[in-house]
Subunit: 100 residues, 2 copies
Amino acid sequence: MILEVAIMKIKPELISKFEAVFPKAATISASTPGYISHELQRCVETRGKYFYMIRWESIEAHEVNFRQSPRRDEFRKLLGEFWAEPNFTEHFEPVTGDRI
Amino acid sequence: MILEVAIMKIKPELISKFEAVFPKAATISASTPGYISHELQRCVETRGKYFYMIRWESIEAHEVNFRQSPRRDEFRKLLGEFWAEPNFTEHFEPVTGDRI
């Protein structure tokens, strides 16, 4: 399992509208083969900063099934106007031995 | 519920040792009143970068019950030697209407 973390910075005047439109965009990601689940997390300290965290079965599910499909454009068409700057995205893998 | 994300950057030569010692440090956080769960996530793109993500019942659980207790020093005593730079920590709250 892979965790994608996309840091989104939203234009301050569009925050309410972003949160209202987001669920529709999330359904586009969720329709991708290899999608597992997602969370949208709002930063407490920095207004307009969000972590969009998606669990994928593999990096390919995100990089190929999502990014190299029309879904990416549909997603951007819905959310692009809200972004104050380009998203910063990284992938993570769980450290499985992280507890005793 | 609050999500704490601590970004840890680990000295390259100490990565294996960090992952081996981490579970012991995690038990210190886990013993804090208000702790719910945690994940340690290893960045795929940047070697030595980790997201330590902890779910708390409230910000106070982290800020008071953990940070203003001897647990913080115990935690740092175990992991401090591995950090290449100070951790960057933020809190997030779930956007509950994030799906249709």
